[in-house]
Amino acid sequence: MESIRQHAHQEIIPNPSLKQEPTRKKVQKKKKAYLPGFLLLLPILLFLFGFFVIPMLYILYLSFIYTDSPGAANAAFSLQNYMLFFTDSYYLSSLWLTVKVSLYTVLVSLLLGYPVALTMAKSSPRVRGYIALLIAAPLLVSIVVRNFGWYLLLLPNGTINSILTSLGLIDTPLKLLFSEVGVVIGLSNAYLPFMVLAIATSLYNIDPSLDRAAAILGASPLHSFFRVTLPLSLPGIVSGCVLVFSMSMSAYVTPALMGGANVPMMPIVAYDQINNLLRWTFGSALSYVLLATTMVIVTVFTRGFEKSKFKEAFK
């Protein structure tokens, strides 16, 4: 007990003995403070290095190795895999399709999501919590289950087509499933919550008196929305778009179920190369092309906004 009390005492009043040999004591104290932290971090760091960082670097390396057949001995360092990708119109059109579908998904999510975020920002914390629960809870249900729900609704003999036929609006069922439309519906449904929450977060940070100031100065609600609220929520819009875009670019399950062979997006092609054709080096290159394309588009998009006339909103 006595020693503890002394220890506590030291923390408040510097021990005079410290002054005599400050450097040594200081170094010792720092070392002591680092060690427990590192010990606690050791398991997770080793785990992630061994099973995450190294595999990711390994397939980056493999993407520069070209082999004619899986496991062939004539492996050599080359750009052949990437050349193959960028000279074959099938792969290029798959990449373009992936970008296009992802952009549509972003657009749909933004248009449908913004009003929800706005409503959340204008509501009491209680209502906000309920809306957040309603839109975020589906994220915790497996994506296959959500896609199955869309099957029920979108199939040629599904709910939507039956309603439209019985109303006499269409004669032949619309091709909603196994098409680009189906994939955009599935993806926007899955990722909309992220868009809403991203925009809502930035709307919460807007000073409500700004809106009032605009009104006092004679702006109509619509005018003050477009000149005050919308520009100030741009950071949220940008981060929501980036999030939805990146997730759409690399989604596999929804394109596979809602688009199938009719919508051969990059993840479908990459999966096929790896799991069915066992072309590992080419599949690795495909993965990195997908990652790099996403990164470039996201960076250009974000930079573009940060340097635009709305750059103040991003500070």
């Binding site: 992630l48 990711m56 390994y58 839109i135 994506i143 289950v145 029920l152 709910t159």
Partner: protein, 264 residues
């Protein structure tokens, strides 16, 4: 002015329905008496629930999903909590970099992670094994645990630990009696979240499963591609029920919206 507000609320309701509708139609469809699933269902019967029990592959897959999700949640909580404690409590050089590294599996697409792990695991004899599957799932769960526990620790008052130490508690006692109880809600949320993440996962799992070791979402996934029968509706409803129970607990503990970075 009023009209604008009404329009906004109308759009809000439409979007919320749009988000929820695929889940809302699955449960009624599972009670159909017909041989094909549809919404609205034809008649009423429980036959598609009793038929689950007659299909051993679904029962095995359900057991596998639960077992692996439990183990993956345990290890990601163990590693993640220790890591988050280290970041929040101790003075470590490169803290920002380490935090970024620990949450980085979130920003790598699951498809790419699956590709990388399958290729890496094959020579290590881990591909298609339960061990390989678990490692993959722990990786995707860790970022969530880190984030939730770090949030839980952000309001942590370290004076409480100091007070306990001054009153004579050993470091171990301080941890068990002070630190742990205070961050327990965050840890439990992290664990539940990790469980659901693993339980629901399809993309990474597709690269990790083998014909004799499959999980429920994988079974549903391949069923949807080959056959289209109401069994998928009833088994999906079971998944929804399990998710709802955990979502209710999570909402009570933490607020589900908060976990995805939403509300204040």
């Amino acid at each position: 002015m009023k009209a604008l507000g009404k329009l906004r609320i109308a759009f809000t309701v439409i979007t919320i329905i749009y988000i929820l509708i695929p889940l809302l139609v699955v449960i009624p469809a599972s009670f159909t008496s017909a041989n094909y699933p549809s919404f609205p269902p034809q008649g009423f019967s429980m036959q598609w629930y009793t038929k689950i029990l007659e299909r051993p592959e679904f029962m095995t897959a359900l057991a596998n999903s639960a077992k692996f999700a439990l183990i993956a949640a345990f290890f990601s909580v163990l590693f993640g909590t220790l890591g988050a404690l280290a970041i929040a409590k101790y003075d470590i050089p490169g803290k920002a970099f380490i935090t970024a590294l620990l949450t980085s599996p979130l920003s790598v697409p699951q498809l790419v992670l699956g590709v990388a792990l399958l290729i890496y695991f094959t020579p290590l004899m881990l591909a298609g094994t339960g061990m390989g599957f678990l490692i993959a799932h722990i990786i995707i769960c860790i970022p969530y645990v880190i984030r939730l526990v770090l949030t839980g620790l952000s309001g942590f008052d370290y004076n409480l630990e100091r007070a306990a130490a001054i009153l004579g508690a050993s470091p171990a006692t301080v941890f068990w009696k002070v630190t742990l109880p205070l961050i327990r809600p965050a840890i439990i949320s992290g664990g539940l979240f990790a469980f659901l993440t693993s339980f629901d996962n399809v993309t990474v799992s597709l690269f990790m499963v083998s014909p004799d070791m499959r999980t429920l979402p994988i079974e549903i996934f391949s069923h949807m591609q080959d056959a289209y029968d109401p069994l998928v509706a009833s088994i999906s409803s079971v998944v929804i029920f399990i998710s709802i129970i955990l979502i209710v607990i999570l909402e009570k503990l933490q607020g589900v919206g908060k976990m995805f970075g939403g509300t204040h």
